[in-house]
Amino acid sequence: LSQTYEPGNQADFDRLYRDSYPRLFRTVYGILGDAALAEDCVQDCFVRAFRAWDRWRPDAPAEAWLHRIAINLARTCRRKQRMASVAELVRRLGRPEAAPDPGSVAERSDFIAALRELPTAQAAAIVLKNYHGYTNREIAASLGVSERTIGSRLAKARGSLQIRLGPEWGLPTSSAAGVDAFVNSERVGDD
């Protein structure tokens, strides 16, 4: 996060692309659970960032800025996926259900499926915290919310994953920290 870039500089944006693309891809893949869709979403993220590269102010880390854009785009992609699935369901009413794509089935494990079931903000918080190693403050600065909001999102996400994945991953139980922290925290408007 401590890389320095000059706004509007094409070479710096290329360097930012090389440095940030894999990390952004992992984040979006954790949210969407689809590698091709995640790659498409990250490419769109860099397109939007490139359009605003002249106006970017280096008072915040560039990768945090990119993460914010990418997570917003991932949220939009999820909505489109839901709309597409509903449209597909309506389209094949009365017909036998088509077989799922083998590639996507093999790619999507139960762990990724559990992450995908989380709301976008919670899945993003889990990935940024446990994969990228960001602190709650860095996540809050990246997503433009308060640290308390990040704490509540993490707690809620842990509770949901505990339910889906089982206790073998050592996740905190709902009575310990997760659900209580969520209930007492502010309600986060999420999908």
């Binding site: 094409q10 944006f13 290329d14 692309y17 090389r18 693309y21 894999p22 891809f25 992992r26 893949y29 954790g30 590698a35 995640a38 490419q43 769109d44 860099f46 397109v47 960032a49 490139f50 359009r51 790619e107 494990s109 762990f111 990724i112 992450l115 889990i126 990935v127 915290k129 446990n130 994969y131 842990r158 991953w169 050592g170 996740l171 905190p172």
Partner: protein, 179 residues
């Protein structure tokens, strides 16, 4: 959150093989090209507009024989006025040709000069001022020629006394008529 969860998360997220990100293959590079082509298109459009303006200025200058925009405006206004007024005066070509051919007709519009009046008139400079001096002055020389015989101003009474005074012949010329 346990270390096992983090390890599993890392394995799952790094499962898909990701090729090395090359900026040359990135989508935003195509956008940059598109933006560049848009700007080039705008520049070309502006250049075409300037060329069009220059051509129009050249044509107007050549048409009005002047490089003064005020002259252009006057010329254009006159041409426009002419275009708008020509339908009301359609027979103007025939009328406009005759005044140019005989400008004297405009000098005396009330009296149309005939060739007989203008040609035998001894003094063309007095013609316009006294349109009919011969007819009005001819009675004067006849009495003066019989009495004094010295008018000098009009020699015509001697040349044609019969043509002008036939209705009233002199008494010396016809004494036998009474008898």
């Amino acid at each position: 959150m346990t270390e096992a969860f983090r390890r599993r998360l890392k394995e799952e997220l790094e499962g898909p093989k990701l090729s090395s990100p090359l900026p040359a293959q990135a989508r935003y590079r195509n956008l940059g090209g598109a933006v560049r082509s848009d700007s080039v298109g705008l520049i070309q459009l502006g250049a075409a507009f300037l060329v069009g303006v220059l051509v129009a200025v050249g044509l107007i200058s050549a048409g009005t024989h002047s490089a003064n925009p005020q002259v252009w405006r006057v010329q254009v206004a006159a041409a426009f006025r002419q275009l708008t007024t020509t339908p009301t005066a359609t027979p103007s070509p025939a009328e406009s040709a005759s005044p140019t051919a005989s400008p004297r007709g405009f000098e005396i519009p009330g009296i149309a000069p005939t060739p007989e009046e203008s040609m035998p008139g001894s003094n063309p400079a007095e013609g316009p001022e006294t349109p009919g001096p011969t007819n009005s002055e001819q009675p004067e020389p006849a009495p003066s020629a019989s009495s004094s015989g010295g008018g000098g101003e009009a020699p015509e009474p001697q040349s044609s006394p019969e043509s002008s005074w036939n209705p009233s012949p002199s008494p010396a010329s016809s004494p036998e008529a009474d008898h």
